[in-house]
């Protein structure tokens, strides 16, 4: 074989080897993005796709009252489906690449983990430094602290209380007075059902609208510390007085009060059932006021929608003026990217977000409303007055649960009301999940 051919073959082999290694190096090499925690170039807000109100209101602020802050550090909104939020946060936190502001996870447990790893800014301290701590409603601050082990770990972009919305017209037509006790609620449901009206609409696909009824019953029967005791380990969900709450909710399902196939009903369908007069009652948070105020969705008319607290349980330790409250999907601030420019943005938000959200979206937030805004409807006024007058608030069923227990509780709830899971088994499954993490 001529030398030239051998040399050419060696050259070809060597080149092939070098090119393969180069390809390998390219494939294995990471990008140089992420992992850094230098001063941010944008005021990035990682939001969930499902929530449009907060990001729209922030965008409005960026072009109006907070324009100067936006010019210094432009607002940039990134979205992710809520179901993928926890995974995204874990990945970003692992790389120290959390944005300046982000939706803080589907359960408070994740936010607490992030705070433990110093990934979340000390919001109380920063707001004090900025001189805007007083711009937060005390009730909202107390709800956040109850959720996050006594610390202010989130901003109250929403502040909701929960209760039962009811169709005034259907109640009137069927001679039903607003129920004050659980037994009266059952009687009202019986009457509606007898007239062929579905008593409750609820989304079993989401699960939580059903478990809220369990916690509502627990708070009324055992008192406002019922679920704190479970969290502290001094009581268990499998204790007979706790199982009783699940039994009561299961009994509603057994009578068919949630309609057929509740497990397949998603949030929008449940809302639609109530707002088109197909159901008489709807347990929901005050965020539903935006839907109630929308004539395209609300076919029964805002004047026909009433709001009542979760009824009392005879002989129970709780009171009906203890409303479950929450701040929606919590939004928090990253510690690594918190600087002067981020602080300026946060200060502007604290002073102006409350008015903008209420005026443009009818959303009640935990920020003070510094510019007076007229209520969109009678029911909105009732809810606003209830919020400002509430003395003691409670949380919800999964508020103090781990992510695992929250998921299991929500996914098992439809089984509880359709009878495929017994109340004892439901509570035992959730209790096991609480104990396993």
């Amino acid at each position: 074989m001529p030398h030239r051919t051998i040399r050419a073959r060696r050259l070809a082999l060597t080149s092939a080897g070098v090119m393969s290694l180069a390809l390998l190096a390219t494939a294995c090499g990471g990008s140089n993005g992420g992992g850094t925690s230098a001063a941010p170039k944008d005021f990035t807000y990682l939001s969930v796709t499902e929530n449009t109100t907060t990001r729209t209101a922030l965008t409005t602020l960026s072009t109006s009252t907070c324009k100067a802050e936006n010019d210094a550090l432009p607002l940039k909104v990134e979205t992710i489906p809520q179901a993928q939020l926890d995974q995204k946060l874990q990945l970003l936190a692992g790389q120290d690449a959390l944005p300046p502001m982000f939706a803080a996870g589907n359960a408070p447990a994740l936010t607490k983990q992030l705070a433990k790893g110093n990934k979340v800014a000390d919001i109380e301290l920063e707001l004090k430094r900025l001189g805007v701590l007083d711009q937060l409603e005390p009730a909202a601050v107390s709800t956040i602290k109850a959720l996050y082990g006594g610390k202010l770990m989130a901003l109250p972009y929403e502040y909701n209380i929960e209760g039962i919305f009811y169709n005034k017209k259907l109640f009137q037509e069927n001679g039903i007075a607003v129920p004050g006790t659980w037994d009266e609620l059952l009687t009202a449901a019986d009457k509606l059902n007898a007239k062929g009206v579905q008593p409750f609409s609820a989304s079993g696909a989401q699960g939580w609208p059903l478990t809220r009824l369990i916690s509502g019953y627990l708070y009324r029967s055992l008192g406002p510390d019922a679920l704190d005791k479970v969290d502290a380990g001094t009581a268990k969900l499998t204790d007979p007085e706790y199982v009783k709450a699940a039994e009561e909710v299961a009994a509603l399902g057994k009578k068919g009060y949630f309609g057929k196939g509740v497990g397949s009903i998603d949030y929008d369908t449940a809302m639609n059932q109530f707002l088109t007069g197909k159901s008489g009652m709807f347990y929901m948070g005050s965020w539903a006021l935006a839907n109630i105020a929308d004539p395209k969705q609300n076919k029964v008319g805002t004047e026909n929608v009433g709001f009542m607290p979760f009824p009392a349980v005879k002989g129970g330790k709780g009171s009906i003026d203890q409303y479950p409250s929450n701040i929606g999907l919590a939004v928090t601030l990253g510690s690594k990217s918190f600087g002067d420019k981020t602080g300026a943005w946060v200060g502007c938000i604290a002073k102006n977000f409350g008015s903008t959200a209420l005026k443009d979206h009818g959303t009640i937030t935990g920020f003070k409303v510094n510019t007076p805004v007229k209520d969109t409807s009678e029911v909105a006024g009732t809810v606003r007055k209830t919020i400002s007058g509430s003395k003691q608030n409670v949380l919800w069923f999964e508020a103090l649960f781990s992510t695992k227990a929250t998921t299991i509780s929500n996914t098992s709830a439809p089984g509880l009301v359709n009878g495929s899971i017994s109340p004892e088994k439901f509570m035992a499954t959730v209790q096991d999940a609480l104990g396993s993490q």
Partner: protein, 294 residues
């Protein structure tokens, strides 16, 4: 050519990069995952050694027992369904439809190319009870029967999943087995017919033994795929109601990425690997023995 392949350096240059790539993207993560089985924690809090805690928890965890039982039950039924339905379709193509089978083959193969999520949504709508009854419940109502909440309990949701996955993949196995059946020499079939074999006897004594190798390949394909079922469950039921239709893969995914328990998720992955390995070994042994006999 012989000189190049006889040269050790040439072999190393040709195989080295591919081997390195394979090691980096396949073997290293596997060993890494095994290492995670002995840890607890997550990317936020960091990882700490936990000894054999994850393994003892695996043994006591009722959710793992349920998921393992679901996985095995699903794998056996769907594998049997896919291969039997595929084989029947292949027999139909070869012995009844013959040259006119192209259209039916295309139609039966069509679900294979559909995205799993689309098929999941299609079956959700087919079997739904609310807000409006789907076609299946409407049919039941037309016969005066009550609607069934198919996704409301684990038993009925399981059977909808089985029907969906068999429908989705039988076309693929039909084509695979069709290729095996057309390979059977016409002379053999002709002489069997001359000897008086026809219908079921011909299939039982001639077609089945001669198509056994391709049948065993289909079985191995199917069992390995069904043991690792994930996408169709997520698309149709997302493991619910409760954890009633949660296979090991989904529980592993939830443990790692939803509950941030990477160590425990890796332990479940290890269990799944062992199950796949044992089943594959069993199928290989059976297939080897049968091939020898035939």
């Amino acid at each position: 050519m012989h000189r190049v392949l006889g040269d050790r350096r040439a072999i190393m240059i040709l195989l080295g990069p591919a081997l390195l790539l394979y090691t980096l993207i396949m073997l290293v993560p596997m060993v890494w995952s095994l290492g995670y089985s002995f840890t607890k924690g997550n990317s936020i809090e960091g990882f700490t050694g936990s000894g054999l805690d994850n393994f003892t928890r695996l043994l006591d965890d009722p959710a793992v027992h349920d998921a393992l039982w679901f996985t095995l039950k699903y794998a056996v039924i769907v594998t049997a369904g896919q291969v039997i339905a595929g084989y029947l379709l292949a027999l139909l193509y070869v012995f009844f439809l013959k040259k006119a089978s192209a259209l039916i083959r295309t139609l039966a193969f069509f679900p294979v190319i559909l995205p799993t999520v689309a098929v999941g949504l299609l079956f959700q709508k087919l079997f739904q009870v609310a807000p409006q009854p789907g076609p299946v419940n409407s049919l039941l109502n037309a016969f005066g029967l009550e609607s069934i909440d198919f996704f409301g309990n684990a038993g009925s949701a399981f059977w909808v999943l089985i029907i969906m996955d068999i429908w989705r993949s039988m076309g693929f196995y039909a084509v695979l087995l069709f290729a095996g059946l057309v390979d059977i020499p016409d002379e053999v079939l002709e002489s069997a017919r001359l000897d008086g074999a026809s219908g079921l006897r011909l299939i039982r004594h001639i077609v089945l033994p001669l198509s056994l190798p391709v049948l065993m390949s289909s079985l191995i394909f199917s069992i390995n795929g069904t043991l690792k079922v994930f996408d169709s469950v997520v698309a149709l039921t997302n493991g619910g109601p409760g954890n009633g239709t949660t296979p090991l893969t989904l529980y592993m995914f939830q443990s790692s990425f939803t509950y941030s328990e990477y160590g425990y998720g890796s332990t479940i992955a290890l269990l799944l690997t062992v199950v796949c390995l044992l089943v594959s070994l069993a199928v290989y042994r059976v297939s080897r023995r049968d091939n020898t006999e035939s």
